[in-house]
């Protein structure tokens, strides 16, 4: 079965396997830690260590959103929008174990889905700064721990749900748009004579 090896190869080269593994590790860790409180100097109050995991997920899980083989992407026959959407979908899937673990420890669905909202935010940052996306995410982690993660995690209602989904849709949409535009631009400049740019190897018209 050659085709399914091919899919596995794509999954691995995008890093979705690593993301899924990281998601499972974070999910297992959030189930294991229990009600440990930590006192971080940068925060005013003590926090439950559990609240760190959505932030860590925002740091680690979006890795596949950054294209590791940009020259290969230029040669694909699929639409670049479809590829970006598949990457985004893969990362959302990889974050589901963390969402499930947070639900299991008693967070409401809108609160647990904050992980997916973070993925949306990370997506737009990825499209702007590539593999440096984790630096703004580290700032987001502190902001989340300082103001976002209190007892609301157990009571959060539809407002959080709207915010989470809006972050995913807006951030993800921006990511797909920017990535698509970037590929289109490179393909277009590759076909024309360009002094400044290195011609990209492409078979697209």
């Amino acid at each position: 079965m050659a085709w399914d090896n091919r899919y596995v190869a794509v999954l691995r080269s995008w890093g979705l396997g690593v993301a899924l593994g990281a998601g499972l590790v974070l999910a297992a860790a959030s189930l294991l830690v229990g009600d440990v409180y930590v006192d971080l100097p940068m925060l005013r109050d003590q926090i439950r260590i559990l609240h760190v995991f959505p932030g860590l997920a925002a740091l680690v899980l979006p890795v596949p959103l950054v294209d590791r083989t940009p020259s290969l992407t230029l040669m694909t026959m699929r639409s670049p929008a479809v590829l970006s959407l598949l990457r985004l979908g893969g990362v959302v899937l990889a974050s589901l174990p963390v969402v499930a673990a947070l639900l299991l420890v008693g967070w409401t669905l809108p609160a647990a889905l904050v992980v997916i909202g973070f993925v949306g935010g990370a997506a737009v940052v990825c499209s702007l700064v590539g593999l440096w996306y984790w630096a703004p995410m580290l700032g987001l982690l502190v902001v989340w721990l300082q103001w976002g993660s209190r007892e609301q995690a157990f009571t959060a209602g539809w407002l959080w749900l709207v915010a989470d989904l809006a972050a995913l849709v807006v951030g993800g949409g921006a990511y797909v748009a920017v990535e698509t535009a970037r590929v289109r631009l490179r393909v277009r400049t590759a076909g024309t004579s360009s002094e400044s740019r290195r011609p990209a190897d492409t078979i697209r018209p």
């Binding site: 760190v52 860590l56 890795v63 502190v142």
Partner: protein
């Protein structure tokens, strides 16, 4: 552009990395600015503690730079050169220099803000920044090792999360305070940094630097016997540093026997720690304002109210300054702090005993409410159990006040009797 910096990217990229380091440093000190602004030593400690966020960023930056280096043919050229380990280290040194500059900028920023707020400075404690700088080197070298050994730039976020999580483990007290370089939540007034518990994390961090370089590529520190000895030393440093690192944050500080005080006012005189003088003026004004009503009721006030942590060695004729929450750092204090101070006319052993002195606490509470009602700060609400007494006959109130104040002053808590119908 210097060769040393080349692997970090172009000029703007380097500037952005410095900006990112500085930004997370500011993020890690800013939320508690109202806490550390009143104490120079706490500001220093907080600035040095910014490694908890700046370290992960340094590790991530080093990981990206070394993955790039590994992917280039230059890595082999470096490995063949005479000073291979030094040439190999140069990008990491560059990242470390950026991070150290940012950390020192954060520390200088914090302490300058404290100084500008009118707090005296204690430059003798500035050495605690050194362990923080060594820890930054350790964190950057871990990132460099992962980046170089794998050649994979996309591991950077995972390294960042890992380095950050190690700090969490220390905060949760699951591992010794090896990666703790500061960030205390108290003012540190009347305390000093203990030398070895503060330095031990630096020893462990130096060991981590050596081991990380050795792990990045076998040729670097495993090629000759002399280099293997260095690795052995590094391992020894890590073990020694780890085992002798403090088990909790409190071990980093110790109490001074007789911390210097700064005083103001005359009726009565009010003293706070010299290191945290911000609340003094407002506290003195409020204490003098409220003290008038106690004196009018015929109470003999202590001449002085003094701030301290312990009863031992205190003059029993001096009252105790009691500031609420973070008011030790604030320029303005609440009326409650002045009241709490006035209703604690002596340092008593019972206040620090195993069993809280409930009767004395009730008496101080009622005395404080009486004082605030008399001073016009508070009005008894409809449902208060002491409302009838507070609005009742003035002579009986004052007799009770005089009696209970004498009992609090002599620590004769067992003699205290609450007024009828109250408590």
């Amino acid at each position: 552009m210097s060769v040393r910096l080349a692997w970090l990217g172009g000029r703007w990229a380097i500037l952005l990395q410095f900006g990112a380091l500085l930004a997370v440093g500011v993020v890690s000190v800013a939320p508690r600015v109202s806490s550390w602004v009143g104490s120079w030593k706490q500001a220093l400690d907080f600035g040095a503690g910014a490694t908890s966020l700046m370290g992960p960023v340094a590790a991530g930056a080093a990981c990206l730079a070394y993955a790039r280096l590994r992917r280039s043919v230059m890595s082999e050229v470096m490995m063949q050169s005479r000073w291979d380990w030094w040439r190999w280290l140069q990008p990491a040194v560059a990242v470390w220099a950026l991070a150290s500059t940012a950390l020192i900028a954060v520390v200088v920023g914090c302490t300058s803000i404290a100084s500008a707020a009118g707090v005296p400075s204690y430059w003798g404690s500035a050495w605690i920044v050194l362990p923080a700088l060594v820890l930054l080197a350790a964190q950057a070298s871990v990132g460099a090792a992962v980046g170089f050994a794998s050649g994979r730039a996309w591991l950077a976020p995972i390294v960042v999360a890992g380095v950050f999580s190690v700090n969490l483990l220390a905060s949760a007290q699951l591992i010794p305070q090896v990666f703790n370089t500061g960030g205390v939540t108290g003012t540190l007034a009347g305390q000093v940094f203990t030398v070895w518990p503060v330095l031990m994390p630096a020893v462990a961090a130096a060991g981590i630097v050596v081991l990380a370089v050795a792990a990045a590529d076998r040729r670097l520190l495993w090629a000759t016997w002399s280099r293997r000895c260095v690795v052995g030393l590094g391992l020894g440093a890590l073990v020694v540093g780890w085992l002798s690192a403090p088990g909790s944050n409190d071990e980093r500080y110790e109490l001074l026997a007789d911390p210097p005080q700064t005083c103001a006012g005359t009726q009565p005189q009010v003293c706070v720690f010299e290191e945290t003088p911000r609340p003094l003026a407002d506290l003195t004004a409020k204490v003098e304002e409220q003290a008038v009503f106690l004196v009018r009721a015929g109470v003999q006030l202590p001449d002085r109210f003094v701030q301290s942590y312990a009863v031992a060695g205190r003059d029993p004729s001096e009252g105790v300054v009691r500031l609420i929450g973070h008011e030790e750092s604030r320029a303005s204090v609440s009326e409650d702090s002045a009241t709490n101070t006035l209703v604690t006319p002596a340092p008593c052993e019972q206040d620090f005993g195993a069993e809280p002195p409930y009767l004395a606490m009730d008496a101080r509470h009622l005395l404080g409410r009486w004082l605030q009602v008399r001073a016009g700060i508070r009005k008894p609400a409809g449902g208060d159990s002491d409302r009838a007494w507070l609005l009742g006959e003035q002579d009986r109130q004052e007799a009770w006040v005089r009696e209970v104040y004498r009992q609090l002053q002599t620590c004769a808590f067992e003699e205290i009797q609450m007024p009828d119908g109250v408590g």
